[in-house]
């Protein structure tokens, strides 16, 4: 297991490096002159173009540009300023990062609270009405795109309750209730899609474990059903569920990009979308890298946790 943990840790750095290289390459090598894009296409003065290129360091060789950006990310100034409002990207990320983390934590908490019990119930009541109800909900949850659900939620709140989530975002420390009224909706929508997946996996796992010999042994030595379920079934069924939690987190973060925009939550995802609309590539680049960092770190943590929980795991 030490070997596994070591290898996993050692691989983290090159993966992060390659991912940053990919993000940088996408934003730089593909066609389109950034300076021209900033100035707009009509009546460009060549001297202005040159000024902007020099100012952004676009005349430097690409490796130098990459080095400066990567060093900036490590040093904590996150690659300069926004092209649109000249705001330092550091301030931008400092503002948006906690918001996205809060949304992610809330989503995962709701998902776990809801999907684990439902998955176990569906498996224990296999092919009876609770199973059918739960499975229908998951089929719906997987088929309905989360941004459409989000639009329907807003529509429903406004039409039925004549109430919409607050428009002005307030952070948790200043105004917990306003913050909650905004954050709960995107979290619920994301959690529904996420749990639909997790419920199905949990159900399949529990069903598989129920057929194992050690479960029959536990029953035959006279343990109460409740004890068998909690001690033997749950513990063994939930191990793979934890890994899936990690691998599906990137989908949740990806989903948060669009849901943050719909619900006006000023997180990293909304920042990327705003940056994309203004072709503000330094912002997109650094914010995307922030999301990549969150994803890779969570995956690392999940993999390590997995190794500790399940001693059978070997690095393959």
């Amino acid at each position: 297991m030490h070997r596994y943990v070591m290898r996993r840790l050692v691989l983290f750095v090159p993966t992060l490096f390659l991912a940053s290289l990919l993000v940088f390459t996408i934003m730089h090598i593909l066609p389109g002159d950034v300076a021209l894009a900033i100035l707009g296409t009509d009546n460009v003065n060549m001297r202005d173009v040159e000024n902007i290129r020099a100012q952004l360091g676009l005349n430097n060789p690409l490796p130098t540009q990459y080095g400066e950006w990567a060093w900036g990310m490590l040093k904590g100034d996150f690659g300069g300023r926004s092209l649109v409002d000249r705001e330092p990207i550091r301030a931008n990320i400092g503002r948006r990062f906690p918001v996205t983390i809060q949304l992610a934590v809330l989503t995962i908490a709701i998902t776990l609270l809801v999907s684990l019990p439902l998955g176990v119930i569906a498996a224990l009541k296999q092919d009876r009405w609770p199973d059918y109800v739960i499975r229908s909900m998951t089929i719906l949850g997987l088929a309905m795109p989360n941004f459409w659900v989000a639009l329907l939620v807003i529509l429903g709140l406004v039409l039925i309750f004549s109430w919409g989530p607050p428009v002005m975002y307030r952070n948790f420390w200043n105004s917990p209730s306003t913050n909650f009224q905004i954050m709960i909706w995107p979290a619920l929508v994301l959690a529904w899609g996420f749990s639909s997946y997790l419920v199905r996996v949990t159900r399949a796992q529990v069903l598989e474990v129920l057929r194992q010999d050690y479960v029959r042994t536990a029953h035959s030595k006279g343990l109460a059903t409740r004890t068998v379920i909690t001690r033997h079934v749950m513990r063994n069924a939930l191990i793979p569920v934890i890994t899936l939690l990690g691998t599906h987190l990137d989908a949740t973060l990806g989903g948060s990009v669009i849901l943050e925009s719909i619900f006006g939550v000023p997180g990293v995802g909304q920042g990327i979308v705003q940056g994309a609309n203004y072709r503000d590539w330094p912002v997109i680049q650094s914010l995307a890298m922030t999301l990549v960092f969150i994803t890779l770190t969570t995956n690392l943590i999940v993999d390590l946790t997995y190794a500790f929980i399940d001693p059978r795991i070997q690095y393959k």
Binding site: M144, P145, L151, V158, L159, V273, I284
Partner: protein, 297 residues
């Protein structure tokens, strides 16, 4: 003589049980999968015959009749420019199907080739490819597609390419894993022993025998690709207007007219959901049929 007759009858029956029989068995064993297939056929039918099914030109603006509620004239209502939402939804299926199918086809072709090559040659190549795939997978799919569209510019084909690139890691992973076990098989050893060249072994033996799980994954990605296209269009980074796409219609509906014209939000989303639902059901049934070991993943 009677015996021979019976045998002949049996042979005859088996010959008649061609693909229609198999389809029938599939429908009976997997009713949900069959429902999915029916939905997909309906969607393909809609896309192909969109011009015949439309009530109006999807781009025609009948401005005085803007934001009309659904009724006899406009089945799904009209949008803010007075365009018929029903006709636009019908035509939107073309964009969805085109982007979904092409993106999955491209990512499957590239992903399989890379994955099999990575498994076959091993060594540094494998290590290098795996690290790049890890890195690519570290970027959330929608963010990757979004960044690519920003860099390439928003157009139908660029959106397709962006989604295809975002899906390459998943296909590569599964193709590599499967190829690794196929390479151990005796028939690969036999091919090598009779002196077949690497290209022949890779394409005729390893790739062909690694395809089943790849197809299962690809089928699962189809519904996903349609949602991603709609999401990009919703964010204004997809197929450019006025060409109708479901995501872009949803965006137009969400911008200020939500309460006044809920039909702008309901119908394109419903079409999208039905499409994804069909792909998911069909993909699940295909997975259970082709590869029972993957069930529940």
């Amino acid at each position: 003589m009677a015996k021979i007759g019976v045998v002949r009858a049996g042979v005859g029956l088996r010959a008649k049980r061609g693909w229609t029989w198999r389809v029938w068995v599939f429908c009976r064993k997997k009713p949900l999968g069959a429902l999915g297939a029916v939905l997909l056929i309906l969607m393909a039918f809609t896309a192909i015959f969109a011009d015949a099914l439309e009530n109006y030109d999807p781009l025609y603006q009948d401005t005085p009749k803007q934001l009309t509620a659904p009724g006899r004239e406009f089945w799904f209502g009209s949008d803010v420019l007075g365009r018929d939402v029903y006709s636009r939804v019908i035509h939107g299926s073309r964009v969805s199907l085109y982007v979904g199918l092409m993106a999955v086809l491209i990512s499957t072709a590239i992903g399989t080739t890379v994955g099999v090559a990575s498994a076959y040659f091993g060594g540094w190549l494998d290590l290098g490819i795996q690290r790049v795939i890890d890195a690519l997978q570290g970027i959330p799919g929608l963010v990757l597609a979004l960044a690519l569209v920003v860099a390439l510019g928003a157009s139908l084909n660029n959106v397709t390419i962006a989604i295809a690139i975002a899906y390459i890691p998943r296909v590569t992973r599964i193709a590599r894993a499967q190829a690794l076990s196929v390479i151990q098989e005796d028939y690969v050893l036999a091919a090598r022993a009779v002196g077949a060249r690497a290209a022949r072994i890779i394409f005729r033996h390893v790739t062909i025998n690694s395809l089943t799980p790849v197809i299962v994954v690809a089928a699962g990605l189809l519904g996903n690709a349609i949602v991603t296209e709609a999401a990009l269009s919703f964010l204004g980074l997809g197929v450019p207007p006025p060409f109708p796409s479901w995501g872009q219609m949803l965006q137009a509906g969400a911008r200020g007219y939500q309460e006044a014209a809920p039909w702008l939000t309901i119908f394109p989303g419903l079409a999208l959901t039905v499409g994804v639902f069909g792909f998911n059901l069909f993909g699940d049934a295909l997975r259970d049929t082709l590869d029972p070991r993957l069930r529940g993943r």
